[in-house]
Amino acid sequence: MSDLEQAAATQGAPPAEARRLPRSVRWLLEAQTAWIFVVLLGMIGVFAILKPAEFATVDNFRNMAVDASSLLVIAVGMTFVIITGGIDLSVGAVLVFASIVAGKAMEAQGGNGYGTVLLGLAVALVAGLGWGLLNGIVITRSRVTPLIVTLGTLGMAEGAGLLITDVNIRSVPLKLTDSIGIGRLWGQIPYLVLIAALVTVVAAIALALTRFGRYTYAVGSNAEAARRVGVKTEQHLIKVYAISGMLSGLAGFLSLARFSTTTIGGHSTDNLQAIAAVVIGGTSLFGGIGTIVGSVVGVFIPVVLQNGFIILSVQPYWQEVAVGAVLIAAVYLDQLKRRARAQG
């Protein structure tokens, strides 16, 4: 037995009960995000018990999932950005910009078929990608802090979008609304939810299992160290901001499909909502730590709270107070449990 193994055997061994559980369950229990997930389940449980007929219905869950989908897409990109120790305030503005240019493109193309829809998707993605690249390049070249750069591009994207059209575009192809906007796979799973879920799963895999994800953590944990071992940190940061931009573009397209119109001016708090979701999910604003699963939970907690409180007919102002308080409590509980686990 080598020193290392010996050390592991005496010091690092998991407690006996955990060893008896199957690997996947153990992983779930030990995962960083497990507890905030439990908190979310707890909330759902409470609401379901209080209002089983109204809250705990397939329809209601489906609606909540749809409500969360576009923010989820943004929050996924934001997770990568925040893990690198950065921040992206421009997401909402890029969303609006992308939906404007995509709408314009589809309007110009005319037609009402899948071709037009695909064109719109491509334009939205490219528009988002463009702003993301701009963010990444300016951040790495100028070394101006991401908060300022993305605040600047926020204004620029918003202004540029409004210059293209200062009113909401309305002639979105019906096909788009019917298919993605309100369509459901097998009549059950809304395509909006499906797309968001797909993006989330791919991102979660990329972050947890690939070299790209590893470098994302490394850059956020110690950028200088990453650079010294040969990670192209600047290139990597550009990629990360590009992804965040592109996902904002996708969210813009989804919002176009859902509302069948651009929603200029309706996304000024998207950035804060996404950041909050990511942080609720346990990602550190200082970088190096975080998971996609956490961000998913972080997106759903406010959605579930709001839905649940409305169903409980809580007064709107009381609701705000309650959401604020429960939010803090949820994150606190999460930390408490995690710390307790760390103490063994």
């Binding site: 209002k51 109204e54 809250f55 219905t57 329809d59 209601n60 489906r62 609606n63 909540m64 749809v66 409500d67 576009s70 923010l71 409004l162 059209t165 200062d166 009113v167 909401n168 309305r170 002639s171 309100i182 919002s255 859902r258 509302f259 069948s260 119109t261 929603t263 200029i264 001016g265 309706g266 996304h267 000024s268 708090t269 959605v303 709001q306 839905n307 649940g308 409305i310 169903i311 409980l312 007919s313 007064q315 709107p316």
Partner: protein, 298 residues
């Protein structure tokens, strides 16, 4: 020297920029300016309907010393001091759409009545639902005078219907996504819900999306406010069933006319009320109604 006509510098300060209501108002103003010929019109507006954002812009405009500022004050009190200041530097002021409580600042007030608009929305909803059921208002956020008044008007009128249960107001922070999710939840909580008043564009849009998500288009009627292209589109698609339209084009047009009247020494009307129109799928084609649909471009 030939007798060259003097050019008048006018500025339109909107309540919020990019909103089709104010775009149409600007269109009306531009049309009047083009017709008169000797008017140079500049349009400015804050990002949000918010006094603290509008005041710096008003100050900036005042520093440029146009002849007349036509403005939609975003608060009935907050704007008094800066408007007084602008007036003191020799600029004439016309209030459009909204006004401050101090009536002596502006030379003319041109507006439609938002409380009345809210009442009309309730009347329209009553017509659509047979004066019974459960209603609520989807609103932006408290503290905005125009939408507060619409909500108040709607509430006053709804309470006159004995078979209507008024569920109160929910706020969406001008986020259509939030409006949609609130609507979904309200539908889950109140299965008998059958009427929603969306007090502004995103509120109506989000409410419609929420209803569509829940698949309750048949049961729930939605009345929106304003008649921008997006609202009209919703109306045509059957997402909303009626719109309360103001006449912003007229407001803008009249404002420029009054401004030039004032500058050329002609008589100025101190108060002009522009009316309200209810737009439905049935009457939208009628020229008397369609001419009041808001413009997205001039």
């Amino acid at each position: 020297y030939g007798k060259s006509q003097k050019t008048y510098k006018l500025t339109l300060l909107q309540g919020v920029r990019g909103d089709e209501f104010y775009v149409s108002m600007a269109c009306g103003a531009k049309a009047a300016a083009a017709k008169l010929g000797n008017v140079k019109l500049d349009v400015q507006g804050p990002q949000k309907f918010d006094a603290s954002l509008q005041i710096p812009i008003l100050n900036g405009i005042a520093a440029r010393k146009p002849d007349v500022i036509m403005m939609a004050p975003t608060d009935t009190k907050a704007l008094i001091a800066p408007m007084k200041q602008a007036k003191a530097s020799g600029i004439k002021i016309i209030e459009v759409d909204t006004h401050v409580t101090n009536a002596s600042i502006s030379i003319s007030k041109i507006a439609s009545n938002n409380i009345l608009g809210g009442r009309k929305a309730a009347v329209a909803l009553a017509g659509l639902t047979g004066k019974q059921g459960e209603w609520f208002v989807m609103n932006v956020k408290p503290g905005i005078s125009t939408t507060d008044q619409r909500q108040k008007g709607f509430e006053l009128q709804s309470k006159t219907y004995s078979k209507v249960k008024y569920l109160g107001t929910r706020f969406d922070d001008d986020d259509p996504g939030k409006a949609a999710s609130i609507t979904s939840a309200q539908l889950a909580a109140h299965p008998k819900l059958n009427g929603i008043f969306g007090a502004n564009l995103f509120s109506a849009e989000g409410a419609a999306t929420g209803v569509r998500n829940a698949g309750k288009q048949k049961q729930v009627k939605i009345v929106g406010f304003d008649a921008g292209p997006a609202q009209v589109q919703q109306l045509k698609q059957g997402l909303t069933q009626a719109l309360v339209a103001q006449k912003p084009y007229d407001i803008g047009y009249q404002a420029v006319q009054q401004a030039v009247n004032a500058l050329t020494g002609k008589k100025v009307k101190g108060k002009i009320q522009t009316g309200l129109v209810i737009v439905t799928k049935a009457n939208i084609k009628q020229p008397a109604v369609s001419k009041y649909l808001y413009k997205s471009k001039c």
